[in-house]
Subunit: 416 residues, 2 copies
């Protein structure tokens, strides 16, 4: 059968799919409005860690240009800023994770795709372009939600519990934050720092322009003491922004504050700041058009999560591979095809959404017990950490209080 | 965790599950209102063929008491009673299928379960017994739709396209029908005979009381020339019933009529006749109760199909094993548990429903082409036949006209 695939959007989902199909000899055309040379002058897009399952896919595609022991990291440090003293503990990955600025990552993969003969068309897609795109390709993959494209896919309320953002984000790349203590045998790690009632901060060693920087992904609870950072202007007064930030970090995230060299601390570049918020949303995975054609949603268009658990990009890459396999095997692009794709991807993709949505809520008593158990039981925390690769396994352990207690008890028995 | 499982209903789904759990050392209690010794005096319950995947499960359970070359069969003969001459062709299974009267089969498996220490409680379940059953067991499996039990599980309209029966059934066990021509090297097979506009007849060599009989499963289209058989009384006038049947078979199903010895032909026993109809229905797979308990639907309660494609019992057995595995692995009986069960069983179970529902419709042009292609291409018809074991594969090939054409074209290319 004819398999001409149009991919709208050049994010990780669209590019991993394009590169996957290219390897299979299937014609894929990527459509995007941003040329590779424009990325360097673009505002920070996100702060994304690729876990080892995603890096394995990059290796399979031959696009892992950052296989560097000075970039990857091996553990999560968990810090809870409890009033009666901080709780600090660690969980390790079996294989390392890695964060590269998407303003470096995406254009590199676009170049890989083009160098290998892939076609990227640079144009802004308007709403009334959609019918022509539908008729041009055998299958349209929508991996950008801009304009009418995202709205084509209906909201699934049963999987989208929130109607407003649960966190107000203030995300930046900073100089002057140590990635660990000098006496640590594994000095580079991510820190998941929690200030109860105020929110979380994810601290990620990130390769950006000019080398290694530190992403501070602040996930602030509306109404909490950190919430105003979502709209505090850096450009109006960089020094005031910096001082406000330092004051709040000292109070709410002291474990990270203590790793800051206040003389060197500051935003790496003026564009390295992103403020905003996400409403976690799952959408229908496909739309049918007249003439027997369909469009399928990939990545954030299908399920957009709050960045708290770092799952969005990893899920987009995972889903791109599952979609790529299904396209390769397809005998028809019809409703059954979409069912096959969803059966392949939804367990993991929806588990990432549910797990993240759960973690946006104040911890239940069972979750509180798990946090304490992980602080005492390294193997348990290692498993929790490794499951950032496998959200469906994490959800198998967290989906109900019964499961959380069973997990703790099982781990305790093994330890005992 | 505590795993005390209550199974309501002693059909194939309930018994295969009970026997499966028994093998795993998990306590299962079967509740049914019919004692083993009552089955012999019961009206014919159905006419069911077990395909090889189901027989393999029986072997795994150690309950295949009918591993007899004189009972099993190896092929399907397809006959179409076209006005300008019949079309006859054959497809073979890779491993044989087998039909045993459920009035023999079910009590034998009940005895197996009890002989191995299993508990069957004989009582009629009333609506107001349900709360006590819910609290008595850790998990309630509902595999009988009698009374309020089936109604607990809501109808899923998006998977249940019909609101009334598509066929009026007249099903019986008969003497006097040859199972094949004497010059046939594989004389025992099932015949799928189609009288366009009037319905289908499935002819199944069946082990019943007194040895091998022939099931005539007449699937008559409402308004067609055979439809009245659903209410024609045998008891009022057996001879008239017999003659009406012979006349209609001669006209609509001549390939089978020609195998009838009219001197010997007749219902094997007065109770060997079942008349009625089925509304194909898919239901929600679970119900939650107060106190953190749930009931899960199995077999016909989950998805009841018209018997046309012989899928109901095979799906109930398949789903029983998937449920049994999930119970064995479970850390909690919660919503995630049901999701796991559904993810394991639904692709096959729903494909059986969809495929059967499609075959209840007049054939599309693509399906007409497939019938003709199968009549010319034995390998294609063998694949169609083998897929009675794997409805999800059948549905992968039949779910849209595009798929049907692709299947025919692929098969043609291989043949050429």
């Amino acid at each position: 059968m004819s398999k001409s695939i149009g991919i709208l959007g050049a994010g990780i989902g669209g590019l991993h799919l394009a590169l996957y199909l290219q390897k299979q000899g299937i014609a894929a055309t990527v459509l995007t409005d941003r040329a590779p040379e424009q990325y360097a002058a673009t505002r920070l897009m996100n702060t994304v860690a690729h876990h080892s399952v995603t890096i394995a896919r990059e290796n399979e595609l031959g696009v892992n240009h950052w296989d560097d022991p000075q970039v990857v990291y091996h553990h999560h440090d968990h810090f809870f800023n409890f009033p009666d003293g901080g709780l600090l503990f660690r969980g390790a990955f079996q294989r390392p994770s890695r964060a590269v600025d998407y303003r470096i990552y995406l254009p590199a993969l676009m170049k890989d795709f083009e160098d290998r003969g892939g076609l990227i068309e640079y144009a802004s897609i308007q709403d009334d372009d959609i019918p022509a795109l539908v008729s041009r390709f055998d299958l349209l993959v929508v991996s950008t939600g801009k304009g009418a494209l995202g709205r084509m896919f209906a909201h699934r309320p049963e999987l989208s519990p929130y109607t407003r953002p649960q966190r107000l984000l203030c995300v930046g790349l900073y100089d002057g934050v140590d990635h660990g203590s000098p006496d640590d045998d594994d000095p580079r790690g991510v820190t998941l720092s929690v200030s109860p009632g105020h929110g979380e901060m994810i601290v990620i060693p990130t390769l950006s322009f000019g080398g290694m920087k530190t992403a501070l992904l602040m996930e602030n609870i509306p109404g909490g003491d950190m919430a105003d950072l979502v709209s505090l202007s850096y450009d109006a007064n960089p020094a005031a922004f910096r001082q406000t930030l330092l004051d709040k970090l000292e109070k709410h995230h002291p474990h990270t504050y203590n790793r800051i060299d206040t003389h060197r601390f500051g935003l790496a570049q003026p564009l390295d700041l992103l403020q905003g918020a996400v409403v976690p949303t799952v959408r229908q995975s496909w739309v049918a058009f007249d003439g027997d054609k369909l469009a399928i949603a990939l990545g954030d268009v299908h399920s957009v999560v709050d960045p708290l658990m770092g799952q969005g990009a990893n899920m987009a890459s995972y889903a791109a591979f599952e979609l790529g396999k299904a396209i390769t095997d397809a005998v028809a692009f019809d409703a059954r095809f979409v069912e096959d794709v969803d059966r392949a991807r939804e367990n993991r993709v929806l588990a990432a959404a549910r797990w993240t949505n759960m973690m946006l809520q104040p911890p239940s008593e069972a979750m509180g017990r798990l946090i304490f158990a992980m602080s005492q039981d390294r193997e348990l925390c290692d498993e929790f950490t490794e499951n950032f690769n496998y959200p469906e396994r994490q959800w198998d352990r967290l989906a109900s209080d019964k499961r959380i207690h069973a997990w703790i008890d099982r781990s305790g028995r093994i330890a005992a």
